[in-house]
């Protein structure tokens, strides 16, 4: 395995008396898809929020791209290249595809020495096309509001936006939720494509078939602790479920 892009060492996060994340350590290498599994309340979301800057861990270290990082806000994590795609996608439904891809980072034309600036919609459209082409995503029209797009298409826009802005690590929270079966396949295909281009993906999901379809490695959390780490080929769904409900626990086996 090559140098890990992300390393977590002994990460803990407590809320009052509750330890939501308990001394979790793990590495992710470039071009790897890692599925993060766990029952509700297992600590997946808290762990992810520590990585993406929403929460600050109480203990432990986060190394990203060879540097020790301490993100105090999500914007900082994004600036470093950690892009999180939430279920609600954070897209403006009333704007078209390029406007969403460039939201907050619009390309502009300057007039009168920069005194007057206008949006360079033509350039943003062209760049959007390049970005989508790189992922082999084809939309018949990019210039209609994305509310007329389907769930999978919007997912593709969110992914394309992250890739365009040079995401080095993509965290996806339940990306196939609320999608029809053909659309789920397209999103999984996109995740594989990201991996092939070297962008690692952390996939949070409850959907077992998705895990086996795209993940290289699987991590299972239970009550805040990382209870196992398996290569996809070495495990099966029923075994994973046993880890998720706490019937199996590798850390305990080692300890006792």
């Amino acid at each position: 395995m090559s140098e890990p892009i992300l390393s977590i060492r002994g990460l803990s996060k407590r809320f009052g008396g509750l330890t939501a994340v308990n001394k979790v350590s793990w590495d992710i290498a470039p071009g790897e898809v890692v599925a993060l599994l766990g029952d509700n309340g297992a600590g997946k979301s808290t762990l992810i929020k520590c990585i993406s800057g929403v929460y600050q861990p109480d203990d432990g270290e986060i190394w990203f791209g060879g540097e020790k990082r301490n993100f105090s806000r999500p914007v900082e994590a994004r600036g470093a290249g950690i892009e999180t795609i939430y279920q609600d996608l954070a897209l403006a439904q009333n704007l078209d595809v390029p406007a969403n891809i460039f939201l907050g980072r619009e390309m502009k034309r300057r007039y009168l020495g920069g005194l007057i600036k206008t949006l360079d919609d033509k350039k943003m459209l062209g760049e959007s096309r390049v970005g989508l082409d790189a992922l082999d995503i084809v939309f018949p029209s990019l210039t209609q509001p994305i509310e007329s797009l389907s769930g999978g298409q919007r997912q593709a826009v969110a992914i394309a936006r992250a890739i365009y802005w040079k995401a080095q690590l993509m965290i996806m929270d339940e990306p196939t939720n609320n999608l029809g079966v053909p659309e789920q396949q397209k999103v999984l295909e996109l995740i594989r494509r990201l991996r092939d281009q070297g962008t690692p993906v952390i996939l949070i999901t409850h959907t077992m078939p998705d895990v086996f379809a795209v993940a290289d490695r699987i991590l299972v959390m239970h009550r805040g602790r990382l209870v196992t780490e398996k290569h996809t080929a070495q495990t099966n769904a029923s075994e994973l479920v046993q880890y998720m409900v706490g019937a199996l626990d590798d850390t305990r086996a080692v300890a006792t």
Binding site: P74, V75, R78, D88, L89, A90, L91, A92, Q93, N94, L95, A99, N100, L103, G104, R105, E106, K108, K117, T118, L119, L135, D136, I137, V138, F139, P140, S141, Q144, E147, S148, L149, S150, G151, G152, Q153, R154, A156, N178, L179, G180, P182, E183, K186, E189, L190, R192, R193, D196
Partner: protein, 376 residues
């Protein structure tokens, strides 16, 4: 990987009838305005024996829409951002009073007229801008709903306007002010010795005075300049893009790193400032500052914005739509008066048009079959 992910748009596959209906529903305000003008051009001569389609009448309509339009322009931005500004009516009144006071007092203190008018402009825009700043700060930073903040501030501004005008019209403005508010860019004189003049009219006597039409009076020209600036800012600049994004999905705007709070403050300042310009222009037009001019126009201006296709839920709308909306109301009002219909019918008709406008907008959503749940 050789496979290509082709994604067809969810709205595809509309029949040609649906496409036609969609086009009509998008352009209905234009078509309605055209139909309205056509209706009055035919009916007014028949029932009243006068001509509707005259230069003078067109100019009357334009002069009439200036204050409503200026209230509506800033409101267009605010409503697109999913907000509302109920204070603009009284802000316009306040601006009218402040600018009249500033103009009169500075002129009386020996400031030359053009400079005094400029000072009046700054008083109007400055006073309005302060109200907008306070509105925006409370809405953006303290997260109080815009409806409540601007309702409250409208009462405060109303009190201030009445206090400072001492509940009467601020009069005693220099004579020259009249020209600023009533002279025009072009003049056309009908009749044998008539002609077309730019900037300054010839000296006229007798019947000739009645045959002169003022075309594009200065307040109309000023309003047109504000319209063009607003179109540019809303549809061509980042400011407008942010406004649409905030109205469409505020969370998305925040996550994209847009300075949402600061933008909201700017929006309420913009809204107050266009209302302030409206107050200043009406002060010039009536050569006096009055606390009672603005508020009756508030609801008309919101009606114009809605007829023009701005969604009260935010995220959609155009500046030109608001212009068309204001024109529809003005043409309707003028036409009904010329038909000798009792004035109160105006309200009934305008109200019906507002409701129909919203119905047409909603039916458009049904027509396209928008996806709300995200599932195919």
């Amino acid at each position: 990987m050789a496979t290509t992910t082709t994604l067809t748009p969810a709205g595809a596959g509309l029949s040609s009838l649906q496409r036609l209906l969609l086009l009509v529903s998008r352009l209905w305000a234009w078509l309605f305005l055209l139909a309205l003008i056509l209706f009055f051009v035919i009916t007014v001569p028949i029932f009243s024996g006068i001509n509707f389609f005259t230069v003078r009448n067109s100019q009357n309509v334009l002069v009439a829409i200036v204050p409503v339009l200026l209230l509506g322009l800033g409101q267009t931005f605010v409503i697109i951002s999913a907000g509302i500004d109920l204070s603009v009516g009284w802000v316009m009144s306040l601006a009218s009073v402040l600018s009249a006071l500033a103009l009169r007092n500075s002129f009386n203190a020996g400031v030359p007229l053009p400079l005094a008018v400029l000072l009046g402009f700054f008083a109007a825009v400055g006073g309005a801008g302060v109200v907008g700043l306070v509105n925006g700060l409370i809405i953006a930073k303290l997260k109080v709903p815009a409806f409540i903040v601007t309702l409250g501030s409208s009462f405060i501004v109303r009190g201030l306007a009445l206090l400072w005008s001492e509940n009467t019209t601020v009069v005693g403005l220099p004579d020259g002010v009249r020209a600023y508010g009533n002279e025009s860019l072009f003049y056309s004189i009908r009749g044998d010795h008539g002609g077309f003049y730019v900037f300054s009219p010839p000296t006229l006597t007798g019947d000739m005075v009645r045959q002169m039409d003022r075309i594009l009076s200065w307040p109309v020209v000023a309003a047109m300049v504000v319209v063009v600036i607003c179109m540019f800012v809303l549809h061509r600049q980042q400011f407008g893009r942010y406004t649409f994004a905030i109205g469409g999905n505020m969370q998305a705007a925040l996550r994209a790193g847009i300075p949402v709070d600061r933008h909201i403050i700017k929006l309420y300042m913009l809204s107050a400032i266009t209302a302030g310009i409206g107050g200043f222009l009406s002060m010039l037009q009536f050569t006096g500052g009055s606390a009672s001019i603005g508020d009756p126009l508030l609801l008309s201006s919101i009606a114009a914005v809605i007829i023009g296709g701005v969604s009260l839920f935010g995220g959609a709308g155009t500046v030109i739509g608001t212009v068309i909306g204001a024109l529809i109301i003005a043409v309707l009002t003028t036409g009904l008066v010329m038909l000798n219909v009792q004035a109160f019918w105006q309200f009934i008709v305008v109200g019906a048009v507002v409701i129909v406008a919203v119905l047409i907008d909603q039916s458009r959503d049904l027509l396209v079959g928008r996806y709300k749940g995200g599932a195919e």
